[in-house]
């Protein structure tokens, strides 16, 4: 199992970045994985249209944890428009690839981030 993951995946899995919760988040997004039943939540803090802080929680395999960690790194500091464009392939590439059977896990990260951005926009509109 171990050898099927790249060094980068293992590194992010064992030392996840931006793991946790933002209590007063501007946007919260959750995505579930219909394939294996896992879930991920992403919290964002937005200032002047930019993601200034981002945190995640994941219930899933090593690939799911590593992709959550990676997507928070990719999204941090980006504008909402830029962050929205991050795809599952961007995340997988940044991790030096994922085993084919684990590509579906990276959907979780991309979907959760999009949901968090949507949530943030919706809340702003409501204000």
């Amino acid at each position: 199992m171990m050898s099927m993951y790249s060094k980068k995946v293992m590194e992010h899995f064992l030392n996840p970045r931006n793991m946790g919760v933002i209590e007063d988040a501007d946007g919260v997004g959750t995505a579930g994985n219909p394939v294996c039943g896992d879930t991920m939540t992403i919290y964002i803090k937005v200032k002047n249209g930019r993601i200034v802080d981002i945190k995640f929680q994941t219930f899933g395999c090593a690939a799911a944890i590593a992709t959550s960690s990676m997507i928070t790194e990719l999204a941090k500091g980006k504008t909402l428009e830029e962050a929205e464009k991050i795809t599952r392939d961007d995340v997988a590439d940044a991790l030096d690839g994922l085993p084919p059977i684990k590509m579906h896990c990276s959907n979780l990260a991309a979907d959760a981030l999009k949901a968090a951005i949507e949530d943030c926009r919706k809340k702003r509109r409501e204000k």
């Binding site: 996840p16 294996c36 039943g37 879930t39 991920m40 994941t58 395999c61 090593a62 896990c105």
Partner: protein
């Protein structure tokens, strides 16, 4: 770093003595057991000595042991061998097999395949411990039932099935009974002299023997159709030149198992009990899967709330601990273990499963090390898990 192997149900290391016994049969005594000359006779004798040792471990007669390439082939040979012989005989009555929903894939997939070939198969339910219901078994017997195949002990949760009672029911209805005893042999007493079992599968690498070799016990008088055609080896039941070093290894592993089983297993059981108690005491929301008493002496199987098994296994691996899980994420098909679902766990609950199986080499220090590391790792994963926070 300390390395602790707790995956003996997956495979065991080859015993030194077994290796020694095997070595001459690779190059020095390389003969083909079918040859008439001295080289052949030497190999032939080695095989027959092994047959005696395997038979001796389970109380069988020598001529009741057929060597195979392992547990999977033994299961296939038993099921298909009996099924193909009965297909035509029972055509009118509807040929019918009874098995359980928690069998090893070697039995389960073979049954599914046989269904495609026109056989009917009943998959018995199990209770929350993984035990089949004898009443359900009895009620499932039809006019066409010719075979019951139920495992001796489960490979995941370690539950030991009521083999004797199953065999009695089989006898009563005049149905053959096969049991996959791959996990049971060498760990608990398996004696076909006393048990009403007709066919029984054995694997060498689960009992400190080599991989790629096993055996099928076929009670005297029980007929099988061979599933592999060729030169008619093993009394015509299993063609193919015998894996002589492997068979010698299996024989030696059986001989050692017979001598050591009692001491080994009472020691291993003590360690296992300490491990179970330690984990249940120190990890919040941890549960034992399988039966509290009717379980293999070396099996411990847990479920932890809000944890995913693959992550858990990889974290433990980082700490040098080798274990396994029934989580969907770790399976090739991304499906939770059929055994865990059958005992009533939800897919999310099955995610958080951990199997620790002990063996000859484990020590008290190993157990202490796991008890020190595991709660920490669980704590870390729960920090990452949104399910833990929600509670």
């Amino acid at each position: 770093m300390r390395r602790v192997y707790l995956d003996y149900a997956a495979t065991t290391p080859l015993d030194r003595e077994v290796l020694e016994a095997m070595l001459p049969y690779f190059s020095e005594k390389f003969g083909n057991p079918s040859s008439l000359h001295s080289f052949g006779r030497e190999a032939h004798e080695a095989i027959e000595t092994s047959r005696e040792k395997v038979a001796d471990l389970i109380g069988a007669k020598d001529n009741e042991i057929i060597f195979t390439s392992g547990g999977t082939e033994s299961d296939n040979l038993a099921l298909r061998g009996i099924a193909y012989l009965n297909r035509d005989k029972l055509k009118e009555k509807g040929p019918h097999i009874i098995t359980s929903s928690i069998e090893h894939p070697a039995v389960l997939e073979t049954c599914k395949d046989l269904e495609k070939e026109g056989f009917e198969v009943k998959y018995l339910n199990v209770d929350k411990y993984g035990l089949i219901d004898l009443d359900e078994l009895q009620n499932s017997v039809t006019k066409g039932t010719f075979l019951i195949s139920i495992m001796f002990a489960n490979n995941e949760i370690g539950t030991i099935e009521p083999v004797e009672e199953i065999g009695k029911i089989a006898r009563e209805y005049n149905v053959l009974f096969h049991t996959d005893a791959v996990q049971a042999v060498g760990k608990i007493n398996v004696d076909v002299k006393k048990l009403p079992v007709d066919l029984l599968s054995i694997s060498a690498h689960k009992i400190y023997g080599p991989k790629g070799v096993g055996a099928l016990f076929v009670r005297e008088g029980v007929k099988l159709k061979s599933i592999q055609t060729g030169g008619g080896h093993e009394g015509g039941t299993r063609s193919g030149t015998e894996n002589v070093p492997g068979i010698v290894g299996l024989g030696e592993a059986c001989r050692l198992a017979k001598i050591r089983m009692e001491d080994d297993n009472s020691r291993i059981k003590k360690l296992r009990d300490k491990l179970i108690k330690g984990i249940l005491d120190s990890v919040e929301e941890s549960y034992l899967n399988g039966h509290p008493e009717k379980r293999l002496p070396n099996n411990a199987h847990f479920r932890f709330t809000a944890i995913e098994g693959e992550s858990l296994i990889l974290f433990l691996d980082q700490k040098g601990i080798a274990a396994s899980t029934g989580s969907a994420c770790s399976s090739k098909k991304l499906k939770a273990s059929h055994v865990l679902l059958a005992i009533g766990l939800s897919p999310v609950e099955a995610h958080g499963s951990l199997r620790l199986t002990l063996g000859r080499e484990n020590t008290e220090e190993d157990v202490n090390y796991v008890l020190e590391v595991l709660p920490e790792v669980i704590g870390k994963l729960r920090e990452i898990s949104p399910l833990w926070r929600e509670k």
